[in-house]
């Protein structure tokens, strides 16, 4: 099992890369190997975690529970989030 989906991605979900600066969402799925999922988990990112994008489209800075993390280029397309409703409204 090299690739697995942690939780099922729903239609409203977007990759973290598409969330947009200043927007908040809850992690719905992480598509990645064991190492990626566990590495994210120990830094506090797992299914259900709420995070806010602070900066970036390639590598991103996200804020989670008051601390900030850099998430690399390759990973931001493999983390899926459910954007907050009000954030989406503001976006459109």
């Amino acid at each position: 099992m090299s690739e697995a989906t942690n939780g099922a991605a729903r239609t409203a979900d977007v990759p973290l890369a598409k969330l947009g600066e200043g927007h908040t969402g809850a992690v719905s799925a992480i598509q990645g190997g064991r190492n990626m999922v566990l590495r994210l988990a120990e830094l506090g990112i797992r299914t259900g975690s709420r995070l806010t994008v602070v900066r970036g489209k390639g590598p991103m800075i996200v804020s989670i529970k008051g601390h900030r993390l850099v998430i690399g280029h390759g990973m931001v397309n493999r983390i899926f989030v459910t954007p907050d409703a009000h954030a989406r409204a503001r976006r459109h």
């Binding site: 999922v37 120990e42 506090g44 970036g56 008051g66 601390h67 900030r68 993390l69 690399g72």
Partner: protein
């Protein structure tokens, strides 16, 4: 936990305490606070990394504190985590003090829970309570201590508060308390699996296994390091492995997710539960100073110019501050050589005198001259690291690094590489995947280290009038970086293929680094550089001196020559001269004569020796020793094009012995060190061949250049 070794130590009145914790939790501050200046670097058998160790006295006992690398968990992803885990299991410290950043409580407790599972005797140091309070979090420490079943001491290490209580508790508990006995409960389904696996795990006793329940959990998680630890046990290990695999499939079907992720979730569940009962968040304070700084420096528009300005400042400062100190050191060695020469009894052991003056004092002096540059560069990097800026730099560089198949984190070793390649190679330990580490390690020698600078400064000053100097110097640094980028890209697409690797990194809040911390980090890295000077370079100087002084030609053949001609004949007859002449036919095509080829032999010992080799070679032939006269002398022997080729060849070719040894140690194989040395030399030959031949064709630099 069985602790034969630890009780033996306790009986002798000396206890060993390990300090664990997340990066940025304040572990180093606590370590320094506990032990003060009584620190040393210790090497532990079986652990390839150096651990910092310090001691303090309490109630007539000596407490040795070992500072483990900062880690987020003990999952054994990165070499640092493996070191921490193996130390805890194999060395059986009498007490483990886990430094917890209370302002990031849940994340920090993830490591705590893993320590609890290992069954080590545990004490928690709850640090940064002031930050947590400022964020509106109120913590019931007593309640949390009950829930976890582990004692807690509160500290504010940055102000030195709570350290005395911590010392008392350490002295009271170390060697007395056995395991915590605290257990993490995983919920009915997983517990059922653990109940079935634990008896099987009991049969697998191995040095790397702290207890049966831990092994059962690890096997269920599919932990490769744990599987390796029991691999030699035969049937019992195989039985456990089969059973664990069976349960894992069953559990992942039940939960609809992978077992190790369910286990990680349950750990967080346990932590969340404990935190909900003991932490009260009143107000969320937003927009800290740190966030405001980030608003500016992480924006590409401002961030990149700020970043490059800072880097430029670092290099400018390094050379501005280092320059005068370098001159003092140069003068000191000049004085030393004169004093020794004057005090040497006439007609006493002339070869020994030559060995001392030309070999040892000349060789070591040549290296120490640019020690100030290295120290200032390391101090500037330590400042950027400790202030938290370096992590932002890594973020900014990730976009570029991604293009060459690496990620932002490889940028930090690359920065260190401008000082000295050896500490840079050790810094690759923070990279998680083997692919990233190897790629970074193999290209690091192409970053112009401090040792290349004397070569550049000698040739640039001698051959290139203004305005060429800055341009040529810049071009050399840029060429190195460009080759490193190209080679990294090539390696990632040909040898170390695979997905873009994981890059998650914490952005710690900005803080003002303490002079003490900067001093310590600077010293740690400088030490590696000095050790290289004291060992490799002294030895190399002696070997080189011997190579250039023996064997002597037949006395009758040089009888009729003048003393100067005789020296030249002797040198040309020596081993070094023969070696230089042997490779000259090939080296002629890239602009080298036999003397420069001979000096290359020395550059393998350490790059900076190229200069002292050239000076020895020419001094021996011409009786002229000082650098300035050496430059004048070189102008007569080489063209600017040759000078450029010599510099480029020294930049790219053959990393120094210390680098080879570091690559060998860090990669675990000679193969990589040798491959790197050969590969880079071939690359150097090709690059200089192109430069030299096209330069000749274009008639560039074949005569001395005129100044502007």
């Amino acid at each position: 936990m069985e602790s034969g070794e630890s009780s033996e130590r306790a009986a002798r009145g000396r206890v060993v305490v390990a300090l664990a914790g997340n990066p940025n939790a304040g572990k180093s501050t606590i370590f320094t606070g506990l032990t003060g200046v009584r620190q040393k670097i210790a090497n532990y058998p079986g652990v390839t990394v150096e651990s910092r160790e310090g001691t303090f006295e309490r109630d007539g006992r000596t407490v040795a504190v070992v500072d483990l690398p900062g880690t987020y968990s003990l999952t054994a992803f990165s070499p640092d985590e493996l070191v921490a885990r193996h130390f805890l299991v194999n060395r059986q410290p009498d007490l483990v003090v886990d430094v917890v950043d209370v302002s990031q409580l849940e994340r920090n407790l993830y490591l705590t829970v893993q320590l609890m599972e290992m069954g080590v005797p545990l004490l928690l140091a709850f640090n940064k309570g002031d930050v947590a309070r400022a964020r509106g979090q109120a913590l019931d420490t007593r309640r949390l201590s009950e829930l976890l079943g582990v004692p807690i001491v509160e500290t504010v290490a940055s102000e030195g508060r709570g350290l005395d209580t911590l010392r008392d508790d350490i002295a009271r508990m170390a060697g007395v308390v056995r395991g915590t006995g605290a257990v993490v409960r995983y919920g009915r389904e997983i517990e059922e699996a653990l109940d079935a696996l634990t008896p099987l795990a009991e049969a697998c006793r191995a040095p790397d296994v702290p207890n049966a329940r831990w092994l059962a959990v690890k096997m269920l998680e599919g932990d490769e390091d744990a599987a390796k630890a029991i691999a030699g046990l035969g049937e019992p290990a195989a039985a456990l492995k089969r059973a664990a695999a069976g349960w894992s499939v069953k559990l992942s079907r039940h939960f609809g997710d992978r077992t190790e992720i369910v286990i990680a979730d349950q750990r967080y569940g346990f932590i969340s539960g404990a935190c909900q009962e003991s932490v009260h968040t009143t107000v969320e304070v937003r927009h800290h100073v740190s966030d405001r700084i980030d608003d500016v420096v992480t924006r590409q528009v401002f961030g990149l110019p700020i970043f490059f300005l800072l880097m430029f400042g670092v290099f400018k400062l390094t050379f501005a501050l280092g320059g005068p100190v370098s001159e003092w050191i140069e003068r000191f060695f000049g004085w030393l050589a004169q004093t020794v020469a004057a005090a040497w009894p006439a007609d006493f052991a002339a070869p020994l005198k030559s060995l001392m003056l030309d070999g040892v004092i000349g060789g070591v002096g040549g290296v120490l001259v640019f020690l100030p540059n290295v120290v200032f560069l390391f101090a500037a990097i330590a400042f950027l690291e400790d202030s938290g800026y370096m992590a932002r730099g890594a973020f900014l560089m990730d976009r570029f690094m991604h293009k060459i198949g690496l990620h932002g984190r490889s940028f930090i070793p690359a920065m260190l590489g401008f000082g000295c390649t050896v500490p840079a190679i050790l810094a690759t330990r923070t990279l998680e995947t083997w692919r990233d580490r190897m790629t970074t390690m193999l290209v690091l020698p192409l970053i112009s280290c401090g040792a290349r600078f004397p070569i550049y400064s000698l040739f640039v000053a001698a051959f290139f009038p203004e305005p060429w100097r800055a341009r040529i110097l810049m071009m050399l640094y840029v060429l190195g970086i460009a080759l490193a980028a190209g080679l990294a890209k090539a390696l990632r697409s040909a040898v170390f293929r695979g997905d873009a690797s994981l890059f998650v990194m914490e952005l710690p809040p900005y803080r003002m680094p303490t002079p003490r911390a900067i001093g310590r980090h600077t010293w740690d890295r400088t030490r590696m550089f000095l050790r290289k000077a004291a060992t490799t370079i002294v030895a190399a100087s002696v070997v080189l001196w011997a190579l250039t002084n023996g064997p002597k030609p037949d006395p009758s053949s040089v009888e009729k020559l003048t003393p100067r001609e005789r020296r030249a004949a002797e040198l040309s007859h020596s081993w070094a001269g023969r070696l230089g002449r042997a490779i000259e036919p090939a080296m002629r095509h890239v602009g080298f004569d036999w003397k420069a080829s001979t000096a290359l032999v020395g550059a393998f010992a350490a790059k900076e020796l190229f200069v002292s080799q050239m000076s020895i070679l020419h001094a021996l032939a011409e009786d002229e020793a000082s650098q300035r006269t050496l430059g004048q002398h070189l102008r007569r022997e080489y063209t600017p094009l040759q000078a450029l080729c010599i510099m480029v060849f020294c930049l790219v070719s053959l990393p120094c012995v210390a680098t080879c040894a570091a690559v060998r140690a860090e990669s675990g194989r000679w193969r990589w060190a040798i491959l790197q040395a050969v590969g880079l030399t071939v690359l150097a030959y090709l690059v200089t061949l192109i430069i030299f031949q096209s330069g000749r064709w274009l008639q560039w630099g074949v005569t001395l250049l005129e100044g502007a």
